[in-house]
């Protein structure tokens, strides 16, 4: 007897549901195609213009996207406000920086240590506070961000206020990006190779992984905790463990972005991890749209690229970002690209025209407007 026949099957649907739209204009297909097109555009971009400046700001922007996707897991999916997110980036950047410059590790070898350090940091902060009201977490993370920065400033192993210099770029089993590579007569220097690395592993890997996590079982648990903690606990979701998981996964993303940032800038100092930057990443998530992958990507690109393209505006940007945060929350709390938003020109599922067949009886009493 196969296990299949012992399984309970869902009863056949009461009414026939309209089929999902298909073709290029179906929302799912369209978004995937759009994502692929953007990715390919980013891939060919260095062939069109490869000025060091452009490559450098784009690399930073991609690292911001990774950061924002990590924070999105915490803020967007699980609904926990983390105001010291940059601290995990600091943990990642310092762990990899110290291991590479003082102990001669390669960047790839530091990754397990970074992950472990971020998990420990996440559990230390999340462990005690996630049992409490979630707004305590906000202020504790703010304090944690300061603790990490001040600690980095005061210890000798982190280089004190001057930080760590000469962080090597990524290398794999003896071959480093610094060596460069020549393919078909085209020479790729280390900056461009690093750009591709961040694009493929960071944006292609980390972003897709975070987005898919949000759709899976864990992601649905996060969202239900966010929407109503008491109800989801009554449904059998362990609220504490689910929130801690979101927090730790966010921490790992932050740490990974930190190793990328360290390799990109080649030097880190405590001043790279001010509260200001935590707030900027938060703005990327909030302005773009919490829990919405395209929104977060747009937000991260906006926050990181706007000061580069609008030079005069860069003095005012923090004031404007602060105002934008308030205005967004008051007038458009779901952000530029809300979660589950569908572009207007895409096909929608056709709702059948006939009268809905309503079930009668006590289960289908009309809901009282509360």
């Amino acid at each position: 007897m196969t296990t299949d026949s012992t399984r309970l099957h869902a009863p056949a649907p009461f009414i026939d549901r309209a089929p999902q739209p298909s073709g290029i204009l179906a929302p799912n297909t369209f978004m995937k195609t759009l994502g692929a097109v953007c990715f390919v555009t980013a891939l060919v971009l260095p062939f069109i213009s490869a000025t060091p400046y452009l490559i450098s700001i784009l690399t930073s922007a991609f690292i911001y996207i990774v950061l924002a996707m990590g924070l999105n897991v915490v803020v967007g999916y699980a609904g926990l406000l983390d105001l010291g997110y940059i601290a995990f980036m600091a943990v990642g950047a310092y762990t990899s920086g110290i291991l590479t410059t003082r102990f001669g590790f390669s960047m790839l070898e530091t990754i397990p240590f970074v992950v472990v350090a971020c998990i420990i940091a996440g559990v230390i902060i999340g462990g005690p506070t996630l049992r409490l009201r979630t707004d305590y977490l906000a202020i504790v993370t703010l304090g944690f961000g300061e603790i990490v920065r001040i600690t980095a400033n005061n210890l000798t192993v982190t280089g004190g206020p001057t930080g760590i210099h000469g962080i090597p770029t990524w290398s794999f089993f003896g071959w480093s990006f610094a060596d460069g590579v020549t393919i078909g007569g085209l020479y790729f220097n280390s900056k461009i190779l690093f750009y591709y690395f961040v694009l493929v592993v960071g944006v292609g890997g980390a972003v897709v992984a975070a987005a898919r996590l949000g759709k899976g079982k864990m992601g649905r648990a996060w969202k239900s905790i966010r929407d109503d903690e008491d109800v989801s606990e009554a449904m059998g979701i362990n609220g504490y463990r689910t929130k801690l998981m979101a927090y730790v996964i966010g921490a790992i993303w932050g740490g990974f972005a930190g190793t990328l940032m360290g390799a990109h800038l080649t030097a880190i100092s405590p001043n790279s991890f001010l509260f200001l930057y935590s707030a900027l990443v938060l703005m990327a998530v909030v302005l773009g749209g919490m829990a919405s992958t395209p929104g977060v990507i747009i937000g991260a690109l906006f926050v990181s690229l706007a000061p580069e393209f609008l030079r005069e505006f860069s003095e005012w940007r923090f004031l404007l970002f602060g105002l934008l945060l308030v205005v967004t929350m008051v007038f458009r709390p779901k952000g530029i690209w809300p979660e589950n938003a569908v572009l207007p020109f895409l096909k929608k599922r056709q709702v059948p025209a006939h009268e809905p067949v309503g079930a009668t009886g006590p289960v289908a009493e009309p809901e009282e407007a509360s």
Binding site: V140, E146, F318
Partner: protein
């Protein structure tokens, strides 16, 4: 030893003043007002402007002038608090808590960088610098301004206590903290009381800002950030939502910091305070005076 205790109590009385506003707002609408520390900063900057404009009129450097300026600054920050509540927090009264928290971060950011745009990023020198010849009492060096500032802080807190516990308006505040809907049904004007709470809390923070500016002699646009965190720590240590708790928590945090600095060195001062915050939240999240609050669904 007695010097450490004195320093702790002195700094603690500032923390207590700011923590009161935090605690009152939190007690009434369950909002962590991140902008509270920046109200403190606004108080300092506003009095800086007023002193700059009036120095010819009043003469400078005396404690009565400072107290007058402090009163004006308290009015200003109080109205600022009411304005912020009206513009940023009231439209979101029914929204999820996360939205309101994010708005509070936005307000804090806006205030900080607006002041930075006006006054520039560098610290300004405050025109009044209170310093006096220290007197030694029981081995602690105490200056006259320190005593005056502590008395002012104590008077403000005493007045607040009388107001909340012994007046009609205070009773309305306590009623809203207990049950907002029920007090609405009993005829309390909830919006008005919340505005008043913001006014009082912000005025106290503004007073603390003026006093700190006059005592330390320099102000900058980020001065409210760390102190806001510390005040929150103080409120948690004392038991958030409880006005006696905020006062006690401020003094306890001041003492802890004073001894911690003595033991570990000044550069670890903030780490020490936030470490205490995390310890308290782990082992006694309700604080010293707080009672266990059950959250209703």
């Amino acid at each position: 030893m007695s010097q450490l205790i004195w320093n702790g109590l002195f700094v603690g009385s500032f923390y207590a003043l700011i923590a009161l506003g935090y605690s009152m707002v939190y007690g009434i609408i369950k909002l962590l007002n991140f902008a509270h520390g920046d109200i403190y900063m606004l108080g300092a900057f506003f009095s800086f402007v007023v002193l700059g404009g009036m120095s010819g009129l009043l003469g400078i450097g005396s404690i009565p002038v400072l107290l007058l300026v402090m009163l004006i600054a308290m009015l200003f920050t109080g109205f600022m608090g009411v304005f912020i509540e009206r513009v940023a927090y009231r439209p979101l009264r029914g929204s999820p808590r996360l939205s309101v928290l994010i708005t509070a971060v936005g307000v804090s950011f806006t205030l900080e960088y607006a002041v930075r745009q006006i006054f520039g990023p560098n610290p300004e020198v405050f025109p009044i610098r209170l310093s006096g010849t220290p007197i030694t009492i029981l081995g602690a060096r105490i200056t006259l301004p320190q005593v005056v500032l502590m008395i002012v802080a104590a008077l403000l807190m005493f007045g607040l206590q009388r107001y909340i516990m012994h007046t009609r308006e205070g009773r309305a505040m306590r009623a809203i903290a207990l049950d907002q809907t029920a007090s609405l049904l009993m005829g309390v004007n909830v919006n008005k009381v919340i505005s008043r709470t913001f006014f009082i809390g912000s005025a106290l923070a503004g007073a603390a800002g003026v006093m700190a500016a006059a005592y330390y002699g320099s102000i900058d646009f980020l001065m409210g950030f760390v102190i806001g965190l510390k005040a929150f720590t103080a409120a948690v240590i004392g038991g958030i939502g409880n006005i006696y708790g905020a006062m006690l928590g401020g003094l306890v945090l001041g003492l802890l910091e004073s001894f911690g600095t003595h033991l570990f060195g000044g550069e670890w001062r903030d780490v020490f305070a936030f470490g205490f915050l995390i310890l308290f939240l782990t082992f006694r999240p309700t604080g010293i005076l707080g009672e266990r609050v059950t959250e209703r669904v």
